[in-house]
Amino acid sequence: MSSVELVTLVVDEVEVQVPKGLGLVETAAAAGIEIPVFCYEPRIGPPIGACRMCLVEVDGQGKLQAGCTLTAQDGMVVRTAQTSEKAADGQNATLEFILVNHPLDCPVCDKGGECPLQDLTFRYGPGNTRMTFPKRTFDKPIPISPLIALDRERCILCYRCTRFSGEVSEDGQLIARNRGAQSVIATFEDEPYRGQFTGNVIELCPVGALTSTPYRFEGRPWEIQNVPSVCGMCPVGCNISATTREGKIKRILSRNHPEVDGGWLCDKGRFAHGHLEASDRVVDPLRRAAPRYDELSWDGALDEAEALIRGAEGRIVTALSGSETVELAFALGKLLRQGVGAHSALLPEPVDHSYDAYTAPLSTIREAQLVVVLGDEPVAERAPIVDLWIREARRNGAEIVRQSEGDPELERRLREADRAVLIVSGADGADVARAGGLDRDGCAAFRLPQTANGRGVADAWAAAADAEAVNPEPIGLLIVSGDEAAANPDVRAMAEQAEKVIAIGMFRRLIAPWADLILPGTSYLERDGTYVNLEGRLQRIRRTAIPPAPDEVAVVSRLAERFGVGLSPHPAQVFEEVSGICYGGLPYGEVGEQAVLRDRVPTSPPAGDKVSDTRHVSEGPGLRLVTYRALFSGPAVERVPALDFQRPPAEVELSRDDARRLGIANGQTVNVRSNGTSLELRARLTRELTPGVARIADEHATGLEGRVEVSA
């Protein structure tokens, strides 16, 4: 980066020096002056100058100018409403026009109290209305999905929402219809707004036109607290703030971490918190008295757990979910490995530490010149926000290459591009990253894990002791930690074998009837601790809501006492212990509100135990089947009815080339077959899939495997 040219300009008699080309709104802010805006939002693309709230006077220009569309030039003299009558009148006029058809129903509006329109009217607007005609009226509010309500009367047509849909998530579903005063925001034929990122438009809307249906009438701004934390739904770890009222979570908002999430959230992270109130939530310890379960006191539960653990004489396997905090995983590890020498665990997923040599902030993707997506698992389903970073890179002119596997040509291109990023989604990428020399500046490689904290859990479990695991035969006791593990078929199979099973989980329907002892689990929204995201960034999660049961770490620490293992009940202290072993002694306090990314760890190849993600499939006729775990699936999502419409439709994705070859049209029902099984699915054609592949969400691919025949 060459040093940026600085320019000097004057805003309201204040002289400021800023980089040439900086937006005027930001420039004024640098001088401590506000240029009010509605439609301006740099995160959704270039300014459009639509709302005219930002009118300023610029010397040498007869007309008022839209400040949001201007950039800092040397010698510019700008007057905002503070010092210019003309500008003040212009902004006042804009607000009068905006309010002409605005219902002013603030008392019953969810936006009330946190509404830019209210605030700017208060500061710049007319005190009274001269509009004496019937205002524009529409049916209100109309659901544009089960999650979002649209009130067209409140809409000020800033086009933030439609620009997000068209230019950020690029789903092209939320649009403006009609022209002029009849313009309205809409979806196609009032179909629901589906997609991974729809909820962001609620936060973008500067008025109460787009509101969250789950949050409607749930709280007034002065009745709520916003607690900073981190999302635990996927390996990205978006920074969030949880809005709580009386200890309950009412909504999740983004807490912009410019390096991680750029201020966006996926709908799972935003809306799935409803699972905290699931009807089958486990709140007391339960002992199986087949066919029933009896509630136990906590002391009773601890006695029971102790007995089960001792009874297994070390023949214990622990199945982890990858949703445990680093602290919980370490606590379990310490208890079981140091306490009874039970070293064998079923880790949520393999971790390949060689990627630590290529790590970088996710925001690096945006600057890339070449982005290679290796593997056929849809990025947006595994790590949604990464998909947004890739799209932004494309808009910035990057070339996006999608391939199932690496090859020498690809490695050459990675070597030669001066800013290359490799994103590995269900393939073997470590060697490609090494061959591509991605430890160069401006380059990076990311492997997309499947679980939110699989890395942290693996680190912590390993840190708890260093003895070889011996897989017990038969399994005396299976300890299942967390609902994802409980939902995992392999774990279920193991539970069949095991003599006894202890399950720690949130949802009864998932665990009963196969566990002998059930201990209530908590959600990432109810715990203190740390997670490690896919960048390797250690982030702090907080107890944002009051859980119905004690924190697992506290429970495990009381159990540990009984085995003479010293373990603090406080995550903070547990972390200090883990940190000393695997995080360079970083103090808990320093993980911080906006966590920083640790430096790259150079690895001399070959690094650690080699991990393979490629599911090898014999060559042959037909297409190679790729199945994936849909973002909108899993125990939490299944417990939030409002998210049902987001579940993956019964579709098979095909590349346009294959479709043409097979004479298949978009949307047509096709037959998909593999040895014996045959399914009817809707074909969806996409350019974002490598030819030769047929992609189906797990839940719609039951029975299919290997290669599939697809026919119209």
């Binding site: 459009i48 008022l64 839209a66 009148d89 804009t94 026009f97 219809r177 022209r179 005063a181 009849q182």
Partner: protein, 440 residues
């Protein structure tokens, strides 16, 4: 006086929609001449000819061409876009040019393309001009087949009914397949235009003037019209005159000559009440301004704009409130809905004018009407908002007494006798029935 013509030249004598006929009077020879010169020299010629845009803004074409960065300074290809969206109320000249001298227009496009060294010409023709689209497309095919395009290509693109798409940046969005809404400027099209490449946008007539400039040469061309703005222009004359129509005349022709000589005066010998000199989007003139010469600077000096040189004559039977209301309904209907003052303001104007015409208005409504005009003026994203104000606002200023009488006498003084009494507009019939209705 055929020599006086530079645009419709020869169209009365022959069928110039045919290539051979056009060739017979030296058609496409000027393109050859242009290609003979270097681009810089061509741009210099256009600059010296002081050719000013005929589409409304009157910007110097040579200047605009020179703003387009040369090939070695471009990041993406440059484009020529011919603005054939002619939708200005009162204007119907581009239509006649395309229908009668399509080849001259196409030749102009190719000359312009050579000037900015572009290989792509797009002609954006308003969707309603179906016949003209067909004539023009045939001409383009004929010329392509005859190989006059060289390494340049011409695509004719049909609009679909939106006045705003005449605004150059909205036109570009529309041409890119989006809703035709204006873009903030800067950056201006010559720097960042179609597909964010450097783009020269010019009106049909401006472009069709290029061959004559090369044929006559700067000197002889400059003998036509006025010093500051040489050449001829096709004036569209309409309204209450005996002989309305298009008249190609030198710039600077007076309103009197146009209306009374060429237009044979006012119908039924009625009294002249108002003259709109440049299409509905410019400020209205009163009869005492009948001697204003119709060129850019003179009209502006007289307090209006030449616009698209579309002169609308209003006789003494018309109610100016009704005329303003009809105009306001047009701008409300055509407002693209992107920026606040235009979208909300034009609708408010209609509501106020309806109340005043309906006899419900008060003096304070008149003040509010003027104030709303002030509040729109100069604050909208493109000039459409201003246009609505030039139209309505100038009627209020110049015919204030008539507006006053409406409120003082509790109704229209014409009492049903106005020539435009009760005229309906598309917006009165809710063109978008299938969607939420907006009571206006």
């Amino acid at each position: 006086m055929a020599a006086e013509l530079t645009i419709l030249t020869g169209a009365d004598e022959r069928d110039l929609t045919k290539l051979d006929q056009y060739r017979a009077i030296g058609g496409y020879a000027q393109l050859e001449k242009a290609r003979g010169m270097g681009p810089e020299q061509l741009i210099e010629t256009v600059t010296n000819a002081k050719l000013r845009g005929r589409g409304g803004a009157g910007f110097a074409m040579g200047r605009k061409m020179s703003l387009v960065p040369p090939p070695d300074k471009r990041r993406s290809p440059a484009y020529v876009v011919a603005n054939a969206d002619e939708s200005e109320p009162g204007a119907f000249k581009d239509r006649e040019i395309m229908r009668r001298v399509p080849h001259r227009f196409v030749e102009g496009c190719l000359i312009a393309a050579h000037g900015i060294q572009s290989q792509n010409v797009f002609i954006y023709i308003r969707g309603e001009y179906l016949t003209e689209y067909e004539v023009l497309s045939d001409a383009v095919e004929e010329a392509r087949a005859a190989g006059v395009f060289g390494d340049c290509d011409v695509v004719v693109h049909r609009g679909a009914g939106a006045y705003i798409c005449g605004e150059e940046s909205a036109l570009l969005d529309s041409l890119e397949g989006k809703r035709g809404q204006p873009r903030p400027r800067p950056p201006f099209p010559p720097v960042t235009g179609l597909y964010s490449g450097p783009t020269l946008v010019n009106n049909v007539q401006t472009i069709a003037s290029l061959p004559a400039i090369l044929e006559l040469g700067v000197e002889r061309y400059s003998e036509l019209g006025v010093e500051a703005a040489p050449g001829t222009v096709v004036y569209s004359l309409s309204g209450n005159v005996n002989k309305p129509g298009n008249y190609e005349l030198p710039l600077g022709t007076t309103l009197r000559e146009l209306i009374f000589e060429h237009g044979h005066g006012i119908v039924d010998g009625r009294g002249l009440k108002a003259i709109i000199p440049g299409g509905s989007s410019v400020l209205v003139f009163t009869p005492d301004q009948i001697d204003v010469p119709l060129d850019f600077d003179s009209v502006q000096a007289a307090g209006s704009f030449l616009g698209s040189a579309a002169v609308i004559v209003v006789d003494d039977r018309a109610c100016m409130v009704q005329l303003g209301l009809r105009g306001a309904k047009f701008y409300m209907h055509e407002s693209c809905g992107k920026c606040t003052p235009c979208r909300e303001g034009t609708r408010w104007l209609v509501q106020l004018l309806e109340r005043i015409e309906g006899g419900e208005g008060t003096r304070s409504d008149l003040d509010l009407l003027r104030d709303v005009c002030d509040r729109i003026l100069g604050k909208s994203l493109c000039a459409l908002g201003d246009f609505a104000v030039y139209c309505v606002g100038s009627y209020v200023e110049k015919f204030y007494d008539e507006f006053k009488r409406h409120v003082d006498e509790g109704g229209c003084p014409f009492d049903g006798a106005s020539s435009i009494d009760g005229v309906l507009a598309p917006s009165d019939t809710h063109v978008h029935k299938h969607l939420p209705l907006v009571p206006a």
